[in-house]
Symmetry: C2
Subunit: 483 residues, 2 copies
């Protein structure tokens, strides 16, 4: 199967990069740090005038080091949306050299097309094949269809390091324009409602670039004893919830956040007695743990927008793509994370956090309200619209020196109206239906014992001040004493 | 047309109230302070042991004085969801006598049926008629279908003061249970996809109560000069937005919050040159201003879940219900506010706030982070899922003594990821696509000039501290000096 059937010249990445003008709004494919273009960004980084380019770079989600480390380090990028995940980008975001705003994953496509984010002058997409008016995406789909549609011009990087067969995983459904948009006609996790390819106006295609460079693969740390205890508490909660919640009597759709919480959640589901319920994964990123569960038959289907796998996981998937395509589906991120879809799928969402406060406000992104550690990603989409929204975190950070349960969140990404359940290694705080005062007592109980006295004292001060929500604004952000 | 066709006895409210046991979870119809039961709550308040009843009262939204003043004042209500709007309830919420948690309007029905809120032992619904397995709702629909479905037993108050013809306005569509729920098949503001009646299991119906007592009507204050300037700035923004936003080229779906912001928004739309665009209202409450625009032909349709009208507006509507039913539709609140519907309708949402901070976090509910002033209502549903989300507020409160633009919101109901545009009488801060530092400068510019120096000084301190989001946690909640 030929990978290049488009009637445009194959050009060197350097030639494409040389034509990029200062101030360009550059769209790039990529989500979960995979499926992003590699050659053109590296060639841009090689330009002598890179530091003066003042680019705006818009992706679907996280991309790899070629963009957010190498190109970023040259100073070529002045502005970045809607996610960044590298040390270099983070340092620049935090000292103000990089203008950044992170956005809900589900909204990026609409914001590109209908206001909020700048439309790309040029979008560069990694593909496994390209033809006359179509491209077959690689390891992620993300906001690629919208980045292509919104762009004036298009360059496709055909990456020989990505198997041609990846096309089979994709289900490219495009919601129409509001206000006349039809409902997304998705009713089951594994259903296919679109095409395997992204369509585009052939007149937009400037060039095809050939590259042979794999995505970086993920390395997962082994779960700690603390992670295992969080997982055990989560398993207990899920086992009880599926018994009492009538919406979970026959089928359960799960979502886990990326990273250690995803691992903990995967550990947890091994211990949940789902009985004869159909269990599916309906998230944004497919990690090894999800693939394991598909292989073991624990999941009937897994849908997401990206494949964030270890080298081993990637080998396993790439080795039998047609087989996996029967149960693994990649969707555009405005479909995988669509609030209407998440809500009607009754998703049980499990996500991590930087800190959670006494009344259930969640900070997913900032240290001490100022320094960004990572973007919100899709945590807001699932936490807000999920049927059961769980925040699962170890009770401390920084080797035990800092409590993740705090009096008042120094930055709020998800409000008390959104997350319903908080799980730590010390227990489960089921906040649903509780008043702020009641929530606060539950939250103290899942904090690390060394921080409970300080939290109790804060709560007493808050209750003395009076009001629906117990707070003492003068000491709300004082670092908590460990005892 | 007979109003009572059900085969159960008509009973006195006192008889129904006498049978209510302590600790009962009581569901009541009502939204926007109309369409709620009146006789049974008043009879409950007359019980000698009212103070010991320890009721949990769950409604769709705001209800009238019979419940949240008279019954509340007896101490009969220990717990209340998901909204309260009276001085009596507010005082009890703030001193901890009333356990309360306010919830997104769109989620109340699902939380009643699938976890989060307690299912009612008894639901009392105001209707204009009742039959064998059906009731015709009055001036609001709210969460009534779910409150009826989730309840063990049902009592219907047939209110002769509400016109029988109100039935014609309702469109009772019931989403199925997740995870197999179908998309809500709504594609136009004025479309009807359900029945005019709420169906129920006839075996649930305990009694019918006859009552003749009107809803209290709204009184709107005349817009101040400041309101008019907010409206003028909003009109300018909307005029520009409909020109530049491709999703608004042919049709515009508007939502306004309740109260003075609704009035300001209504003033604004009179001044927007919509050209030949179809303009509809897709909100949660229909106020006089919406009815005016329907009458004037400015709105092709108006859909909501409640009729919050002045006496004059009510007379006008009640005088020609069949005529209005062609363009005015009342939906259950899990349909009117459904995030999937709001998003695909591309709603332009305009809501008020208590305060907005420098990076766009919005507080809709609390004074100084502790004292609740009102619930979040549907502001989160529309602010989060709207295509263009505007917060429109005068720049000051408390007669000019307090700035509504603050360094850091003392309570967050809508995050920086949700609201995109802030309008005050001093201008428009279009925050979309801006980094937190850039947002802060825009926000200072729409603050009242008397507070700008203090905001500027705060921002300088925040920038000195460093980090993506400029804050100085030590002084974040210090009251702003007026100069």
């Amino acid at each position: 199967m030929s990978r290049i059937e488009a009637g445009v010249p194959v050009r060197a990445a350097e030639s494409v990069a040389a034509a990029v003008e200062p101030g360009t709004v550059l769209g790039v494919s990529g989500f979960g740090s995979v499926g992003y273009p590699k050659a053109v960004p590296l060639a841009l980084a090689e330009r002598g005038d890179a530091a003066d380019l003042g680019l705006t770079v818009v992706s679907g989600g996280n991309v790899g080091a070629e963009i957010d480390e190498t190109l970023m380090a040259t100073g070529a990028i002045a502005r970045r949306y809607p996610y960044q995940g590298s040390d270099e980008a983070n340092a620049r975001v935090n000292d103000g050299r990089l203008a950044f705003h992170d956005r809900h994953v589900s909204q990026v496509a609409d914001e590109l097309l209908y206001g909020g984010l700048p439309a790309p002058d040029l979008t560069v997409v990694e593909a496994v094949a390209v033809g006359d008016g179509w491209l077959a995406p690689s390891t992620s789909l993300g906001a690629t269809p919208a980045l292509v549609e919104a762009a004036d011009r298009l360059v496709v990087e055909v990456n020989d390091a990505q198997p041609r067969g990846l096309e089979a995983l994709h289900d490219v459904y495009r919601p129409g324009a509001p206000p006349g948009r039809d409902p997304i006609p998705l009713t089951e996790a594994g259903e296919r409602i679109g095409d395997t390819r992204v369509a585009f106006d052939p007149g937009k295609l400037d060039a095809v670039v050939r590259v042979d460079r794999p995505d970086a693969t993920y390395e997962f740390r082994d779960p700690t004893a603390e992670d295992r205890q969080v997982a055990a508490n989560l398993a207990n909660f899920l086992s009880e919830e599926i018994e009492r919640n009538p919406a979970l009597a026959e089928a359960v759709n799960l979502q886990f956040g990326v990273g250690s919480v995803g691992n903990a959640a995967a550990l947890a589901i091994e211990d949940v007695a789902f009985g004869d319920r159909e269990v599916a994964y309906v998230g944004e990123v497919i990690q090894d743990s999800v693939l394991d569960a598909v292989d073991a038959g624990g999941l009937t289907a897994a849908s997401a927008t990206s494949l964030a796998l270890s080298a081993e996981g990637q080998n396993r998937l790439f080795g039998d793509l047609d087989h996996y395509a029967e149960r693994v589906v990649l969707r555009p991120s405005d479909v995988s994370n669509a609030p209407g879809v998440v809500r009607r799928f009754g998703v049980v969402a499990v996500n991590a956090a930087v800190e959670v406060d006494l009344t259930g406000h969640v900070n997913s992104t900032h240290l001490r309200g100022t320094r960004m550690v990572n973007g919100i990603g899709g945590s807001g989409d699932f936490t807000r619209s999920g049927l059961v929204s769980v925040v699962a975190v170890p009770s401390t950070a920084a080797g035990g020196d800092a409590s993740r349960v705090v009096p008042m969140a120094t930055h709020v990404d998800h409000t008390e109206h959104d997350a319903g359940v908080v799980v730590t290694e010390h227990g489960v705080a089921d906040l649903r239906g509780l008043s702020p005062r009641e929530r606060a007592r539950e939250m103290v109980d899942v904090a690390h014992p060394a921080f409970r006295p300080a939290l109790d004292r804060y709560l007493e001060r808050g209750l003395e001040s009076g009001g629906h929500t117990p707070h003492d604004l003068e000491t709300a952000f004082d670092p908590l004493e460990r005892e």
